[in-house]
Amino acid sequence: MSKYKNILNSILAIIFALFVGAVLIKISGHSVKEAYYYLFYGAFGTSYNFAQTLLMTTPLIFTGLAVAIGFQSGLFNIGGEGQLYWGAFVTAIIAIKFTLLPGYLLIFIALLGGALAGGLWAAFPGYLKAKTGAHEVITTIMFNYIGILATTFLLKRYFKADGPVDQTVMLTKKARLPELITNTRLTWAIIIGIIVVFLVDQLLKRTAIGFDLKVVGENIFAAEYAGIKTGKYTILAMIISGAVAGLAGGTIVLGVLHRFITNFSPGYGFTGIAVAVLGRNKPWGVLLAAFLFGALEAGGMAMQLFADIPSDLMEIVQGLVILFVAAPAIFEIIFPVIKKNRGVESNV
């Protein structure tokens, strides 16, 4: 499918999902006008609200990107959640332990450590896949549980701050990511996210490493034929993917929570899968998709707050967007123009 058709399809999917959402709001006895007014207001209405949207966007950029990198290399990494927890944990520990370092260096090293931890955590399933053929979907799911529980254990055993909550002590001021807009919680994390999107895009488009990653993802037999070490690239793809997911955790710790708390993630790792699907596994596409999801999330909260409409409705809308993106055939039935010459009929 061509690029433009993809974009058109995604936009249609969003419009359609909002339309179905409107029907649901109507059925549940609320005013559609009011609901969507507050949805829009909550997402873009004031600079604070917009900052809120960007805040929600940030972790999804990382987790979406992590899934997309896997997809590009033919891997379905759904272990983002576990990788995110390791990233968050190691980042927090470094930020707490190495306070003698100057601020920027401390932040840099803490994030780097978090990325490494996420990458390492993802490397295991990659290794198992390369050496034994164990399917990464199974192993990464298992590694989610292990990762979340292992960090919880380590926290409780060695790093727990006093008090009833399972959390570390607060980070010192200098270990926190600086605010991007004052009096909001939006930090430099989103800039780091955009930089990582750029880097991954360049990696995939302009380097031989990225080329080989994609070859392995597209056709493993051709990869072997061309002399690409497929096992090596499977592991490498998982490491890069896990490192990016680790950054999601690290930036949340340094930017938002300012400590590590057990069970802090509402499932960013899993939402990343949906973001990657909507972004068609392209880095810049992921950025846009994360932004949309961030807006729905921020707007949904305003909707609940001001119009008393459950924000769960926006989760349904998110789900519908994905449904329509993943099943473009739905549109081809509704709008036959799109169908023409779909796909590639290979012959001979």
Partner: protein, 507 residues
Amino acid sequence: MKAIELKKITKKFGNTYANNKIDFSVQQGEIHCLLGENGAGKSTLVKIIFGLYQKDSGEIKINDQIVKLKGPADAIARKVGMIHQHFMLVDSLTITENIIAGAEPSSKGFINYREAERKVRDLSEQYNLQVKVDSLVGEISVGEQQRVEILKALYRNAEILILDEPTAVLTPQETKELFNVLEQLKKSGKTIIFITHKLKETMQVADRVSVLRDGKKVGTVETSQTNPAELARMMVGREVLLKVNRTQNNPGEKVLEISNLNYKNKKSGLSLEDINFSIQAGEILGIAGVEGNGQLELEEVIAGLRSFQQGNIELNSKIINNFSVKERRKNGLAHIPSDRLKRGLIQNFNLANNLVLGSEWDSPYAYYSILNYNEINKFKDEIVKEFDLRYTKNNSIAGELSGGNQQKLIIGRELSRETNFILAAQPTRGVDVGAIEYIHKLLIEMRNNGKAILLISAELDELRSLSDHLLVIYEGKIVARGSTDKFTEEELGLLMAGHYQQGGENV
């Protein structure tokens, strides 16, 4: 009566016409062959008849009725059946299940398997299409799979059968059997449209032939009124040399030597046993044999895609037994793989990326890891020009190329690499006569320039006209060897079929 009549059929992809105002008609009960160069628009035309592509303009009549085909279902309803070259079968289902899928005989919601098997058996007897109705499709030969595809169409009452390059994957024996079936079908009144690149076959089975070139129809002729040379001229638009000119060679140093090679394919049970041969610079060594006698295994063992149990492979004076694919390529290997869709290209990559595949780390295409698309695109333009690659869109992906152009892309990539050993497996499969002429010329040229070439092919003519020496392989063993002139075509046929003297030195 006319079974099919097309008027001014036009189909564009991007800005190029795949079909340009084509008038084409097929009489009921005839075998009509469709010829044309790679990319001429043959597959596109038959896909339009089968409802897989929608025409941009023009008129389709089936049995004298104007029809609108929105999809294959409409075509099937009008008793049109199509046998694709890449079979659409489910490996894990039985032959019967594959044939009836989607049109199961049932009562009260339960499939009546006994009834189904009986029907399939009847059909297979009626047309002499032998299949074992209850074997799994994944376990049968390519020839049998094709018979299953034909039965599938017949089961849906097809009266008009379209076959897109059915013989490209068949052994000579299977081809002969297929032609018998086609004759049988014709006798019972069916109409057949048949695409091929092999002029000999056309002359043998077709009643009439239509030739396409650049999306336009050049003409339709009766087979009895024409000859291969004329057909070739119609296809290409100029005289084509159907035979290459192989001069005396002067072989140089040994480039490849294989000694006591033993390999067992644990999946299929086939073994390569005690393979010994060597190729010198400036020599083409041909491997003759019916497909499935160890050619693929030999190819992949040499290329480094399978590891073998015993023996030695020496390339350019280095033992490469434990070399990776990459190291082998560095040490002089170029490889045209027999399975182009599986190994040779990446369907979703564009031409430039497919052409740089395997050289993506080498200068000038990359500097350390950074790709230089200026150089890569320059290389692409050169290959496109040199090999006359035809495509419709500027950024076409390999999957959109016609079959023959996909092959040219791979050949262009491999032959332009600086190596002195070429492993060429089925290099002209699915390629039109003009391109075959070009590829043959090129291989001979490479040989004359001192390269060593191992040619694995299912085409006897190709082997006989290109090779300096021939080996005959049968069930994984080399059963005869000698210089090409020493074999007659009949002898080769017998040897390939396993008629050789045990232990004796054949030729």
